[in-house]
Amino acid sequence: MAIKRTYEEINKRIKKGKAVIATAEEIIPIVEEKGIERAAKEIDVVTTGTFGPMCSSGAIINFGHSDPPIRMQKAWLNDVEAYAGLAAVDVYLGATQLSESQGMEYGGAHVIEDLISGKKIKLKAISRGTDCYPRREIESYITKESINQAILFNPRNAYQNYNVAVNTSDKKIYTYMGILLPNMGNANYCTSGQLSPLLNDPQFRTIGIGTRIFLGGTQGYIAWEGTQFYPQVLKGEPNKTVNKGGTLAVIGDLKEMSTDYIRAATFKGYGVTLVEGIGIPIPILNSEIMKSVSAKDEDIWTDVIDYSFPHLKKPSLGRVNYRQLREGKITIQRKDVPASPLSSYAKAREIAQKLKDKILRGEFLLQEPIQKFPKQNKFKPLLEIR
């Protein structure tokens, strides 16, 4: 008989310490040995993980009010501007915003990392002054203990899959996909493949608004579909379908996070970004879901894209799978190209394992989505209208 499970049943088993959990890597040999149906019967939850640069990230911070109070119009944290066009002492600090004095060496992501590690951060803010908020400037120091809230809220994280980047030009280029050597001297990719959260539930059967996740070392939630969300499968070469455009907007308490799972990074010539750890538990509600989570690196394909082309639609040079990428060499147009990742597989594995351990200890329960994501979405370009 086909297996069916509910979230309630799974959570009951977690609370009793009886749930059976595997990571998205461990499940592969289990399914190979026992088959999908038997594996689905025996396993309650499969955990996933990813740890990579995610630019569309930032933090909402509330400083508390000074006396006399100020309605901040512009604010800087360690010389990095945070958007202050909210109420008096709320700001949104974007991860990629650069320091006004240190340039690319320091940015919003570094402020976030310093805040998490408990360091003192210099705050400067200015205002026109109003009758109700008379103060016109303030300089002070804050820490995560001194402020009211620090909430990580990232509009687009956990890209389901991503391009492999190469450069066919004769010049070295500096991109958000790292340094690309001329004449396809190297290839960079950035996904945890068979461990990647959204590649283990490509139809979004269990991942939606309200899903509880592992975020930066603590519990967070999926707030919405990520920006540029595109859940459709990209067709092309037969048997090499690509799921690429799923994304998540996520939210969590920055004060509870750990720099083991959230770090600032600088891509030379490109800028600052936030490297984040995200793990999502996938409940095995039925055998179709077990089939999805048993996807292996060799089943997951992506496009090799030429980043030397300076336009939006860049040419694809073919498709490769993550097994080929993980082995460190791909063949593009009959040329062998060394490939390496920008996201850490070792850390992705650690996150999936850590999430598994938390569930086993009963510290992490599964949350059914309050609302599912749209099945289809448009990916619109920005047109120049005059």
Binding site: G178, N186, V337, S340, L342, Y345
Partner: protein, 135 residues
């Protein structure tokens, strides 16, 4: 035969000394120049791979030191901060000599100093700024 990678630092006073010539002639060392940066008025840096018997290398290096040229070993000058490193792999494919690799089992970064030619590619490729060359 032993192989050692060394960095010689020249000052304006000793920049014109024929050091490599002497190492070959007097100490019978094989020399492979990996990198050389010189400005006669300021001095310079020479990165070499030396091959020879242990005592020949030691005597040769003593001779270089006596000339007033600074001698450093490469592994002390290329610093990989394992605490900062997140084992992503951004440095792997950009390395021309295969110094950096991800372990096939653990996917943790391995750093094989023996193969390093101090090109500096990894230093600029590392998003966490976990690799430094101190000269």
């Amino acid at each position: 035969m032993l192989s050692k990678k060394v960095i010689f630092t020249f000052s304006p006073q000793n920049v014109e000394r024929p050091v490599t010539y002497q190492l070959i002639r007097k100490y019978d060392l094989w020399i492979n120049i990996l990198q050389a940066k010189f400005k006669p008025s300021l001095g310079g840096k020479l990165v070499l791979e030396l091959k020879g018997e242990n005592n020949q290398i030691e005597e040769g290096l003593n001779f270089v030191r006596q000339m007033g040229v600074g001698v450093e070993f490469l592994e002390q000058e290329v610093l990989w901060d394992e605490e900062k490193c997140i084992d992503c792999g951004a440095c792997v494919s950009i390395c021309p000599t295969g110094v950096l690799s991800l372990d096939k089992e653990t996917f943790k970064l391995k750093f094989d100093y023996e193969k390093c030619i101090v090109c500096g590619n990894c230093v600029e490729a590392c998003p966490l700024q976990a690799i430094k060359v101190t000269f």
